[in-house]
Every structure is written in structure tokens, then in C-alpha cells.
């Protein structure tokens, strides 16, 4: 039982439905759920519940909405935009006990999983088959497939193999009215009428709670060449990326780290990267073995032509694993530089990458912010990482303003404010800069059609009339983070 007595009348009802061990109300324990991977926006939920299946989710949603509380879907809370946080009041519906892989059909290359199954758990379960679930966010050991679908997560190999929505064949979800809706489960690779699973993917939990996902399984690439190219100039690295794409090559991944990131990773993990590099491109090609050396040579000559000063490549699986672990651990290494960091996530036309990286560095300098970059260069998806101290309100505000300027600049280049992390609450204020009032109204109309009372994760992804989260204004002069204006 929770340490403190239940206060809100919803709590006894939820306990009756789910049992006491599935309802968290102790304020100390609730603190774990006050934010996700975006530490600037915080809010304490009324309770956190842990249903085990779809029916429990549907019944719980019925109870929560009857009490006129917000329902906040949550997977592992690794989201980077504040989407899984309860602002004001609300009950977090956490899928962490919905971890059943319900069926694996290798012949038809589909697995049906509960939403709380961790991304790597599925691929691990089918490793023997030569198939995998392809989406590979760097958080894949921790994040859930439901969360990946709800954010349409990308990853390192999405350049060639696609983002989460390309690998979701169907979904089951619970609406605000507690209805259970199943989409496209009969046809697997096709359906009748508009693509409802695609609408649910990337909807950040505002249309309903995903409870089951039909995951497409694809062959694991068997042959690779992995290389890195070191540059004395980040512009040259960006130009190489654009040139590789323009040459019609489709590497599986093309990732970039700036000089600062290379040094941090090298100091933390000792992979043998040169610490005087200004940029490092990590590139992988997969496909038919016989063709790989030819493609690799093409990429190498493009990098050389753009001034790469050191190029190393390998086909050895151990070294390959090391190189990719360097990339995946880059975020963790950032912790050595600052107490808090804010990862931005703009996406640009790839030909604009060089220009954008230059200007982003300049914007960081103007704001006096230390800025590192590790990103999915092949997708044009930049991740400037802004370092700050979350206990210093001025630094928080400065970070938010700097982020805003970076994203606004990216919009002017034909880019978007988020390539994979989502809007959450973090980028809400930028939505009117990207979309017309009519388009925003359409998003709202779609939400209202599925959630007439705006009970599910309101105030995320699209600006809301009822829940307004204003991060750009501190609540009080000395409080970190943003103000939450509820009304």
C-alpha cells in the first residue's frame, strides 16, 4: 500500500480495479514520474497505474475520465519532449507491466506485442530467425515499442530501413471513451480505407493509448562495411553527407559527431578516435557482400574529396560493434560535461546541413551556451545538445530561448522542428510557426473526433484551449523550468 492515504476519489476505484500493487500514490514514489527525458518540464501526477492488459487499460480509462482527470500514457519515460508528464493533475497509465510478446509469426514476418515490450526484447526473442524489428532508437534497451510507435521513433539505421511507422502494420488502442479499436490486423500488409495505424504512429498519446502493436519483421542485414572518416572541418563532413546521398548511395546509417562529442566519447570510453578531430562521420553500408567494397570505395572517395584526413573501415563484427556502441553511448557521455542537457531535434533537407550546422554553432555562441552535436546526418536530422544547469533559472531560460532560435532558423531552411523526438510540450509554441491556423485546427478536430472531452494527454503535440504549458516564462523569478498555466 502507498505510504500516504489516498486522497483523490479516483484512487480507491483504481485500486479496486487493478489491486494496490498496481496503483502508485506515494508522493515520494510519484517523483520518479514527474518528468521524462526532458528535465525542464515537470509535473506531479495524481497517481501512476500499471495495468496488465488492454481490458484493464480500457476500464481504467473509463474510471479516470469519469473523474474528469487527464489520462497520460507512458512507456519508459525516455521521451525527450515532456510528452509523458502529468501537468496539473492526471493519472499516468504506464505500460511497463504490459510486456507480453503475444505471437511471433515468422512465415508472415509479423509479431504482435503488448505496448510495454521493450524495443530490444522483441529483436532478442527472434534473433535465431534471421529477422529483426528494425527501428533502433539509441534508447532501444530502455524504451517501449508502444512509446516508439507513439513517437514514431527513428534511429541509426532509419536512413535505409525506415522509421517506426514503416514497421508498424497495425495497432490496437483504447480511446478516451474506453473503446478498444483494432486496426488493419486482418490484412497485415494492406487495409481498407485510410491508414489509421499511420495516424496513431507519432500521435504522442493524444488520440488514445496504444495497447498492442503488429510489428513488421525484416531480414537482418548479413554483410556490412563500417567506416569512420575524420574531418578538420565540420562543414566538409556535412558536404560529404549531402554528396553521398546525391550520388544515389543509400548507406544503412550515416551518423556524425562534432569535435567536442568525439573528445567526450573518447575520454569516456577510449575507442581510439583522434581527439583533435572537428567532426567524425560514422557510416555503414549493408547489402550483397560482393557489392560492398565498391560502394565503400565510392563513399571513401567522396569523403577524401571533401578533405577527410583519416578514414578507417572494417568488416570485423567486434570492431563494428565497438564503433556503434561509441555512437549509442554518446548521450551518456555528455553527463561528464554538464549536470543537465537539452537535446534538440530539427530535421533539414540534407543539402542544407552544412549551412545549418555552421549557423547553429553561431547561435550557441551568441547565447553563450556550450553546444555539442551527435546526429543522424544521413537523414538531415540534427541533435544540437545544449548544456546547462537545471537548478539555475536563468540558464534554463537561456537554453529554451537558444533552442527556439535554432529551430526557427531550421524552419527557414525548409526544415522541421522535430525529426523524431516529438513536440510534447517542449515545442508546442513553435507549432504555429510551422503550420497554418487551419492545419492546427485540423489536428485539433482529429483529436476531438477521437477524444471529445480532451481527456487523453491534452496539451501535448498540438496547442490546447484548456491546458496551456508555457515553458518560455518562468513561473516565478527564481523557479527553474517553465510556468504551467492551466485554465
Amino acid at each position: 500500500m502507498p505510504a500516504s492515504a489516498p486522497t483523490h476519489p479516483v484512487i480507491p476505484e483504481l485500486i479496486r480495479l487493478l489491486g494496490p500493487d498496481a496503483v502508485l500514490t506515494d508522493p515520494q514514489e510519484l517523483r520518479v514520474y514527474e518528468c521524462d527525458g526532458f528535465p525542464i518540464a515537470k509535473g506531479l501526477p495524481t497517481a501512476v497505474i500499471f495495468p496488465r492488459d488492454t481490458v484493464q487499460v480500457a476500464q481504467a480509462v473509463g474510471i479516470i475520465t469519469r473523474h474528469n482527470l487527464q489520462v497520460i500514457p507512458r512507456g519508459s519515460g525516455t521521451g525527450l519532449a515532456g510528452g509523458a508528464v502529468a501537468y496539473g493533475s492526471g493519472v499516468i497509465v504506464c505500460t511497463s507491466r504490459m510486456t507480453r510478446i503475444e505471437s511471433i509469426d515468422l512465415d508472415n514476418r509479423v509479431a504482435v506485442v503488448q505496448a510495454g515490450v521493450l524495443n530490444t526484447a522483441l529483436s532478442d526473442a527472434i534473433l535465431h530467425s534471421g529477422l529483426r524489428f528494425s527501428p533502433d532508437p539509441s534508447s532501444q534497451r530502455a524504451s517501449t515499442i508502444g512509446g516508439n510507435a507513439a513517437t514514431n521513433a527513428g534511429g541509426i539505421n532509419t536512413l535505409k530501413h525506415g522509421v517506426t511507422t514503416n514497421h508498424v502494420l497495425g495497432v490496437e488502442f483504447v480511446t478516451a471513451q474506453g473503446e478498444i479499436v483494432q486496426t488493419r490486423a486482418t490484412g497485415l500488409y494492406d487495409g481498407v480505407g485510410p491508414d489509421l495505424p499511420a495516424l496513431l504512429c507519432g500521435s504522442e498519446g493524444i488520440l488514445g493509448i496504444l495497447t498492442r502493436i503488429w510489428c513488421r519483421l525484416v531480414p537482418i542485414p548479413r554483410h556490412f562495411r563500417t567506416m569512420y572518416a575524420v574531418f578538420n572541418d565540420s562543414q566538409a563532413a556535412c558536404r560529404s553527407v549531402a554528396d553521398v546521398i546525391a550520388a544515389g548511395l543509400v548507406p544503412a546509417s550515416m551518423e556524425m559527431m562534432d569535435g567536442q562529442m568525439v573528445r567526450v566519447v573518447e575520454e569516456a570510453f577510449h575507442y581510439g578516435f583522434p581527439t583533435d578531430a572537428q567532426a567524425l562521420l560514422l557510416i555503414e553500408i549493408d547489402g550483397v557482400e560482393r557489392t560492398l567494397d565498391g560502394q565503400l570505395q565510392q563513399v571513401v572517395s567522396i569523403c577524401k574529396h571533401n578533405g577527410a584526413c583519416d578514414i578507417q573501415h572494417c568488416s570485423d563484427p567486434t570492431r563494428r560493434a565497438e564503433l556503434w556502441s561509441a555512437r549509442k553511448r554518446a548521450f551518456g557521455a555528455i553527463g561528464r560535461l554538464a549536470r543537465s542537457y537539452c537535446t534538440q531535434d530539427a530535421c533539414l533537407p540534407r543539402s542544407a546541413l552544412a549551412k545549418a550546422i555552421k549557423e547553429i554553432t553561431e547561435i550557441g555562441r551568441r547565447f553563450g551556451i556550450t553546444l555539442s552535436n551527435v546526429f543522424h546526418a544521413g537523414d538531415g536530422n540534427v541533435h544540437p545538445i545544449l548544456l546547462f544547469d537545471e537548478d539555475n533559472p536563468d540558464e534554463v531560460q537561456n537554453t529554451l530561448r537558444c533552442s527556439e532560435e535554432i529551430l526557427e532558423y531550421c524552419i527557414t531552411l525548409g526544415g522541421t522542428i522535430t525529426g523524431e523526438h516529438g513536440v510534447g510540450v517542449e515545442k508546442l509554441h513553435l507549432m504555429p510557426k510551422l503550420f497554418s491556423p487551419q492545419t492546427l485546427r485540423t489536428f485539433t478536430d482529429i483529436k476531438t473526433a477521437l477524444d471529445p472531452g480532451h481527456h487523453i494527454n491534452d496539451g501535448k503535440l498540438i496547442p490546447s484551449d484548456t491546458l496551456h504549458i508555457e515553458l518560455m516564462q518562468p513561473a516565478t523569478p527564481r523557479s527553474p523550468g517553465g510556468a504551467m498555466v492551466i485554465g
Partner: protein, 384 residues
């Protein structure tokens, strides 16, 4: 009834607003999908979109075009820059028709369907407002993914007038191998095995070409690579004594496109045409069951995409024969799972249900239709 040709968003928006006032539905079923879904109401304004290229960002490999642009015209423009849109559909179909009807074919195996290629689009909703979603970047999660939602929407949720798509590099060479057998059953296993080897094709389809079944697997790229893949396929084929390589074709992309269009040419004139989607590992069985009907009733064209369980069948059937085929299609669907959509029914026969079974998400789709087209003006009743 005359058809109004439109290209620009302002004109479409104006027409929608007028139609709202006069309560006259707007109907666009496309060129090759006129028989798909319930028939339009008697009184309506027929529209047809036209248009051309807006911008081709060559180095970014993205293209923006009016939805009314014909696929063939787009391909010709892209070809000048060694690119293509990897969708196999007829050249005279517009991009909008391909998108709203989710047209895909044998190339889906290597390149995905239009759902995987669309980056953004603009449409006029049922109020006459111009709505722009997505963008021109290859990844984008800002806002709801209405671009992909529109794929297969049958023109019921908005009139798509502009689309942004990702393109691919034009492969220097195409090689396709045809394997034949007396039964389509073994095709599924062979395709499954190929997916896990170097023989993993970028193109797969199969068809009944009397008196035998033909499975076609294609490889696109440099000749050194495709040669390796073909050899790998031949090794796999050795394990299937009942299948024989009977033809290997080489050419450029235009040659391949011609081959693919010949295979599906029958569909444009068929009085009866139905798409059946079953679990992929039962494609061969579905084909076999349809062939049995064909043998004892009326000759059918049958072609299929084994990796996706999609079977297209039909021909010149009388209304009675079409009803009988419908019963078989239902039986196949019931025993194997999946769904069926009629693309053409003789005399628009109302006793043949255009969609079966009704999708389980129908209630939600109705709500979304009402949100985007509150007066039910756009292709009303076609599906919803």
C-alpha cells in the same frame, strides 16, 4: 455528366465552398478506380485534377508536384536526373490517384509503397480550407501524420492537391528471373527463403500464364551485384525441383516498367476485378483456390504479390459469374483470413459488397470523416 478539371488549391477550395452552399457532392474516383466502392450519388459535380511538377530537389532526392500530375510525366522528368519514383503503376495515373488508392505493385518489395515515400501533402478539406501537413524532410514528427493517413483514403477525407515524395536513384540495370511451375503453392516458401539470402529481390510478383504459374523475381542495380543475386536465387531454386527457371530478362528500368505494365494491363478493361489480401504465406493457396473456380466456371486473370498476400483477379465476367466469384473470394477470405475489395463489379451489382469484411475501425473512421468533411461532400458513401 461533365467533369471539372482543376489544378490549383484556390480553385479547388472555391469549388468546395460553392458545393457546400449548394450541397452538391464532389466526386473523383480516379481513372482506374471508377468501380471501387459504392457508386456516387446521382447528383454530383465530377472533378479531375491535373497539374505538373512544382519542384525537384535533385540532391535531396525529393520532389513536389501537383497531385494531378501523371506518373509517366513525373518519371520522365526524374529520369533526366537519373532518379525515379519507385512505384509501379500505370503512367496515366495521377500521383493523387496512386496515393489515395494506395496503388502498389511488384516493386514494393524493394522500395516500399507510397506510404513509405510520402513526406508531405496539401489537401482541401470539406470546409474548403487548405491544409498542409508533413514537409520536405525525410523525417518529420511535427503534428499528426495526416500525410500517411491519406494513403488509401479514397478521396473521402480531403482533395489532395500537392504531394511531396522521396525519390530513388535510377538503377543502372534490371534483371528479372521467371520461374514456372504447375502449382503456385511452392512460391511462398521460395520467396520466404530468398528474403534471408542474397537472393532477396527488389521485385516479386506471380501470375497465372496458362498453362502454368510464373513467379518473377527482379534485381536492380549494377550488373555485378544482380549477377550475384541471380546466382543465389538459382541455388535456392535447386531445392525446388518442381520450379524451373524459364526466362531471364535484362534491361533498363524502362524495359522493366514495360514488362510490369504488360502483366497488369488486363485489369484496365476487366469488367470484374477484385483485390484479395490474405496472410502472405497463404498467397499460393489463395491463387490455387481461385484457379479451381476459374477451371470450372470462367477463365480468370490471376496475379499476386506473394510477400504481401495481395491477389488481383477478375476478367470479363457476367453478373452471375461475378457473384459466384464473390462467394469463392469470401470463402477463401474466411478460411485464410484477410479482406477483399472489389475494384469493378459488372453493372455495379449491388448484391456484391464492395468491401468485406467491413473494417473493424469503421466507427473511428466515420468520426474522422465527420471531422474533416462535416457536410459529407467528398466522395460521399464510397466507403463510409
Amino acid at each position: 455528366m461533365s467533369t471539372t478539371a482543376l489544378t490549383y488549391s484556390q480553385d479547388i477550395a472555391e469549388l468546395v465552398r460553392k458545393s457546400r452552399e449548394t450541397k452538391t457532392p464532389l466526386v473523383d474516383y480516379g481513372l482506374a478506380h471508377r468501380g471501387l466502392g459504392h457508386a456516387p450519388p446521382n447528383s454530383h459535380t465530377a472533378i479531375q485534377l491535373t497539374g505538373g511538377l512544382i519542384e525537384h530537389h535533385v540532391p535531396d532526392m525529393t520532389v513536389r508536384a501537383h497531385a494531378g500530375m501523371k506518373l509517366g510525366e513525373l518519371q520522365a522528368t526524374l529520369r533526366e536526373n537519373n532518379q525515379l519514383l519507385p512505384i509501379d503503376a500505370d503512367d496515366d495515373l495521377s500521383l493523387g490517384e496512386i496515393l489515395t488508392h494506395n496503388v502498389y505493385g511488384a516493386l514494393r518489395q524493394g522500395f516500399g509503397s507510397v506510404r513509405d515515400l510520402v513526406l508531405g501533402l496539401s489537401f482541401i478539406d470539406g470546409r474548403g480550407d487548405d491544409i498542409a501537413v508533413g514537409g520536405r524532410t525525410v523525417k518529420n514528427v511535427a503534428g499528426l501524420d495526416v500525410s500517411r493517413f491519406m494513403v488509401g483514403s479514397l478521396g473521402q477525407f480531403g482533395i489532395v492537391h500537392t504531394v511531396t515524395l522521396r525519390t530513388s536513384a535510377l538503377p543502372p540495370q534490371a534483371t528479372w528471373v521467371e520461374l514456372t511451375g504447375h502449382d503456385p503453392g511452392p512460391f511462398d516458401a521460395l520467396v520466404r527463403a530468398a528474403l534471408l539470402t542474397d537472393a532477396n529481390p527488389q521485385l516479386v510478383d506471380c501470375r497465372y500464364d496458362a498453362p502454368r504459374w510464373v513467379l518473377r523475381m527482379g534485381y536492380l542495380g549494377k550488373s555485378a551485384a544482380t549477377a550475384v543475386q541471380v546466382r543465389s536465387l538459382e541455388t535456392l531454386d535447386d531445392a525446388h525441383p518442381d520450379l524451373h527457371v524459364t526466362h531471364t530478362g535484362h534491361g533498363d528500368m524502362r524495359d522493366l516498367t514495360r514488362e510490369l505494365s504488360i502483366t497488369r494491363a488486363w485489369r484496365r478493361t476487366a469488367g470484374a476485378l477484385v483485390k484479395l489480401v490474405v496472410p502472405p504465406n497463404t498467397t499460393g493457396r489463395a491463387c490455387r483456390l481461385l484457379k479451381e473456380w476459374s477451371d470450372s466456371n470462367h477463365p480468370l486473370h490471376i496475379d499476386a504479390l506473394p510477400p504481401f498476400g495481395c491477389v488481383m483477379t477478375g476478367g470479363h465476367l457476367s453478373a452471375e459469374q461475378a457473384r459466384s466469384l464473390d462467394r469463392v473470394v469470401r470463402d477463401v477470405r474466411r478460411s485464410l483470413g484477410g479482406f477483399a475489395v472489389w475494384h469493378a463489379r459488372p453493372g455495379n451489382d449491388p448484391s456484391i459488397t464492395p468491401f468485406s469484411p467491413e473494417p473493424s475501425e469503421m466507427t473511428v473512421l466515420r468520426k474522422l470523416k465527420h471531422a474533416l468533411d462535416p457536410d459529407n461532400l467528398l466522395n460521399p458513401g464510397r466507403m463510409l
